[in-house]
Amino acid sequence: MTPLTPAVFHILLALAGGKRHGYAISKEVLRQTDGRMRMGPGTLYGTLQRLLDQGWVEAVDGPESADERRRYYRLKALGRRALEAEVERMDALVRTARAERVVPRPSRT
């Protein structure tokens, strides 16, 4: 299976916890990556459009109290399977790297 692009992977991961609107997705990606990956609206919605077309994500109604301007997005079964496959692929890579004694240096922070 072809590896997912970083944008696709992080959006799917952000939606794994439940439905979110676009801005909440970009904030969640920022949180998951400790501020290292800031996703602009063009990247976010361009990727979401592809995921909608592929049937990995669907647009749904928000909660009752939600902002009317917002559309919410939810992970579909196909998208969850793709995310799980990608995590398995990454996990296998990390195991291989550890077996090769490739250990990341401890963070300075």
Binding site: Y23, P41, T43, R70
Partner: protein, 151 residues
């Protein structure tokens, strides 16, 4: 100043016009909302420096992704524009070849006049583009259709 200017959101709405129509119809409203909220958050977090960092990032994002979206959503439009531009260039070259004008043979005063006329034409052309763009923006602001909201 106590908040980032609202005109920035209007400017961003104008920038969204760089995306293909289909993409704008689907996402322009959400993109503008996100821009507004992100600007407010950046303002509260770090003031002008944070806002400027955000806007720089978003401007580069627009330039990068608008081209991608045109290639993805509007290849026929890109092709049509390219063919039209190529046809216009070919026509202009043919006209020049048919009636050659030697710029260097003109007197210095005439050369200045030609340059001034050329610059004036450019300014007028730019003004027309800006006016057309503004009119199109206000008349055709993409609104999320009821069908799109159900998707």
């Amino acid at each position: 100043m106590t908040a980032p200017p609202i005109v920035a959101t209007h400017l961003y709405r104008a920038l969204v016009y760089l995306y293909p129509p289909a993409f704008r119809r689907q996402f322009a409203s959400e993109m503008a909302s996100d821009f507004h909220d992100a600007t407010c958050d950046a303002w509260h977090d770090g003031g002008w420096p944070a806002v400027m960092r955000l806007w720089t990032h978003i401007a580069s994002d627009v330039m990068r992704t608008a081209a991608t979206q045109w290639l993805r959503n509007g290849p026929s439009m890109v092709l049509a524009l390219s063919v039209a531009a190529a046809a216009a260039c070919t026509f202009a070259i043919m006209q020049i070849a048919r009636q050659p004008v030697l710029f260097t043979s003109l007197s210095p005063v005439d050369q200045d006049t030609v340059v001034l006329l050329f610059l004036a034409t450019l300014v007028i052309l730019l003004a027309v583009i800006v006016i057309l763009f503004t009119v199109c923006f206000w008349l055709l602001v993409p609104r999320r259709s009821s069908r799109a909201r159900r998707v």
